[in-house]
């Protein structure tokens, strides 16, 4: 793999503390946004930015569990749609129903993750196909449940998480609830991934499932848990998105790919074995910052697509070149 003769320069480079480049990119983008729009330094500016980015950040952190374990979860986008559509149907404009509806949604999410995991582990269907099938199925369910045209709307008590701001705070003035949710869930996901045995086992099965199995890791159980974490984070994302987006059958469309993009920007290795929750969240913020910046520049939607494509390819290509140079 690696060169036997490491040059002095590369040895020194390797001994330097490695800071994930995504943080530099994010910082540069934020500076660019501030230059474009000085109002961004006001609390309302950056708080609103974080609020809008929170759903994607949570989703990407959950997706990271599946990516690090060596798979993909394409079903999260349609799960978001199902959560938003299903909640509006179940709530039926009754504010008192909020809590049990949220509980039901998390139950559905856990079920979806469990089925994904079982299909991958016991039917041995590659996760790409298994979760693709789940994506099609869940989209169908969302349509069936709403009869094709979602009616009703989400109650304000349900929208609390995505929309409400804590106001009248000293110094920062507003603090959206969505950011509190992001901080709490982000910390939980960080702790599970980087401070527990579960996280190490997820890394192990993604790196080499056979070796992990021989070392005594219950590969199937760990993999199923990874899929459940991803689905639960999708439900949380759906609840947040329900707060600011309307009820429609395409709220979650494209989110699965954005989540994978965010994880990749954060340096996660596709097909498993490497990834970091904070860097993934930074990746999600980076992606949102790019979109915000393009918006400020007044670029139309097609250009945003092109830029997203270029960034995606460039991020992975640079990561591969770096990996080859550092030999890791």
């Amino acid at each position: 793999m690696t060169d036997n003769t490491l040059s002095a320069a590369s040895r020194r480079r390797r001994s330097l503390p490695q800071i994930n480049p995504v943080y530099f990119v994010l910082a540069a983008l934020i500076v660019a946004i501030i230059v474009q729009n000085p109002a961004f330094v006001e609390p309302t500016g950056y708080m609103n930015f974080l609020k809008r980015a929170a759903p994607l950040a949570i989703l990407a952190a959950g997706q990271l569990y599946v990516i690090v374990s060596g798979g993909f979860d394409l079903s999260v986008g349609s799960l978001i749609t199902l959560v938003v559509v299903g909640s509006s149907m179940l709530l039926n404009n009754d504010p008192n129903a909020t809590w049990w509806v949220i509980a039901v949604m998390f139950g559905i999410g856990a079920g979806v993750g469990l089925i994904n995991g079982l299909v991958v582990c016991y039917l041995k269907v590659p996760s790409l196909i298994a979760t693709l099938g789940m994506m099609i199925t869940l989209n169908g369910f969302a349509f069936m449940w709403s009869g094709g045209s979602p009616r009703g709307y989400l109650t304000d008590s349900f929208r609390f998480f995505g929309r409400f701001n804590v106001t009248d705070l000293p110094l920062i003035r507003i603090f959206p609830v969505a950011i509190i949710v992001l901080l709490v869930l982000g910390f939980v996901l960080y702790w599970l991934m980087h401070r527990t045995n579960l996280g190490r086992m997820i890394h192990a099965i993604g790196d080499n499932p056979r070796a992990a199995n021989l070392a005594g890791v219950r590969v199937n159980r760990v993999r199923i848990i990874a899929f459940i974490v991803s689905s639960l984070s999708a439900v949380a994302t759906g609840i947040l998105l329900g707060g600011f987006a309307g009820v429609s059958t395409d709220v979650g469309m494209g989110y699965e790919l954005q989540a994978i993009t965010a994880a990749v920007l954060g340096g996660a290795q596709l097909l498993g074995g490497r990834g970091s929750v904070p860097a993934t969240i930074a990746g999600a913020l980076t992606l949102s910052a790019i979109f915000t910046l393009l918006n400020f520049l007044g670029l139309p939607q097609p250009i945003r697509q092109v830029v997203q494509g270029l960034i995606l390819i460039a991020a992975v290509a640079i990561a591969m070149v770096r990996r080859r140079h550092t030999g890791r």
């Binding site: 374990s69 060596g70 798979g71 993909f72 299909v119 991958v120 016991y122 039917l123 041995k124 269907v125 590659p126 996760s127 790409l128 196909i129 298994a130 693709l132 099938g133 789940m134 994506m135 099609i136 199925t137 869940l138 989209n139 169908g140 369910f141 349509f143 069936m144 094709g148 099965i205 993604g206 499932p209 056979r210 199995n213 590969v219 993999r223 790919l257 994978i260 990749v264 596709l270 097909l271 498993g272 139309p300 939607q301 097609p302 250009i303 945003r304 697509q305 092109v306 830029v307 997203q308 494509g309 270029l310 960034i311 995606l312 390819i313 992975v316 290509a317 591969m320 070149v321 080859r324």
Partner: protein, 327 residues
């Protein structure tokens, strides 16, 4: 990896080889069963079978190309937007003028060639994960396309519409074209050096490289084939819709459906095993399932739910017996 050790004795029933045919048989039985069961036997004619197949020509052409990409252990998610792009390019270049047919076809195929080369270059030379490389490419193509056109653009002369609507002795010309393409793909995979290289590289890239195969060239070749097939599908759709629009590829979900069809046809995502006939069976299974639902009068949304379940079940049909650890 783990099942290499158990080489089967000769003349035994090899499940893997016959599984696509078996699945096709099941789908056919379901179709006939529903038709008889609901008393709609008028649909059990040869003409109807041909019309069922005719509905999935574009998917079939795309899937033949996708087979090459998946056989080298790669994947191509950019086919859907490439289909839109080539359809629009062809229809704009023609703009109703029969004399411009040849340049239009050349332009569409040229675009396919460039996209295939770029995909291959990114994947083989820069070692970008194929999923990400082709997804990024898809975003770029779609973005460029939407920047210029937002609706049906250009038009296709009547002569070119013959590709989709003409018939030869009752059989649609497009179906013959598709079968010839599949035959050619089978020939390439079975009898040419490139074909055997495709299987070697997909089976074990390092071993193939050590054996002296220029692996990156093979991967690039497979992606060029895949993109050219998508370009052909775009030309076919332009001819059928009489014009090109920037959403025809993504509306047909040709990227994910072509992958599903290839995998249902027994080509494994890890590469190196499978072939065009399986893909053909997969396409037929897909269109039979759709027709069965139509016969049974399944509601459109329930149809989608069942489709998702069937895709997973069909793939599980192959994989459940494997003993390897998958992700």
């Amino acid at each position: 990896m783990s099942d290499i050790g158990m080489t089967p004795p000769r003349f035994t029933f090899r499940f893997e080889r016959w599984a696509p045919a078996l699945l096709l048989g099941i789908a056919l039985l379901a179709y006939v069963g529903i038709a008889v069961g609901t008393g709609q036997t008028q649909y059990l004619t040869f003409e109807n079978l041909i019309s069922i197949l005719g509905r999935s020509i574009a998917l079939g052409i795309t899937a033949v190309g996708q087979t090459f990409a998946i056989l080298v252990a790669s994947i191509d998610l950019s086919v859907a937007s490439l289909i839109s792009a080539t359809a629009v390019v062809a229809s704009v270049v023609m703009s109703g003028d029969p004399a411009m047919m040849a340049p239009a076809v050349a332009a569409a195929l040229g675009l396919g060639l460039v996209v295939g080369l770029l995909n291959g270059l990114l994947i083989a030379r820069f070692e970008v994960n194929p999923l990400i490389a082709t997804l990024g490419m898809s975003l770029i193509i779609q973005g460029c396309l939407s920047a210029f056109v937002s609706n049906f653009a250009g038009s296709v002369p009547a002569e070119f519409q013959a590709l989709a609507y003409g018939t030869v002795g009752g059989v649609p010309f497009s179906l013959i074209f598709f079968l010839l393409l599949a035959l050619a793909a089978w020939f390439v995979l079975r009898f040419t050096r490139f074909g055997s290289d495709v299987y070697s590289v997909g089976g074990n890239k390092d071993a193939a490289r050590v054996a002296g195969i220029k692996t990156s060239r093979v991967v690039m070749g497979a992606h060029v084939v895949c993109s050219l097939c998508a370009a052909l599908a775009g030309l076919y759709l332009a001819s059928r819709l009489r014009s090109g629009a920037p959403w025809i590829g993504s509306d047909g979900v040709y990227d994910l459906e072509s992958i599903a069809v290839v995998v249902i046809g027994g080509t494994i995502l890890a590469g190196g095993r499978g072939g065009v006939w399986g893909t053909l069976a997969g396409v037929m299974i897909f269109s039979l399932i759709d027709s069965t639902f139509n016969l049974a009068g399944v509601d459109a949304f329930a149809k989608q739910v069942l489709r998702g379940v069937i895709i997973v079940a069909a793939v599980a049909f192959y994989t459940v017996r494997s003993r390897r650890l998958v992700a």
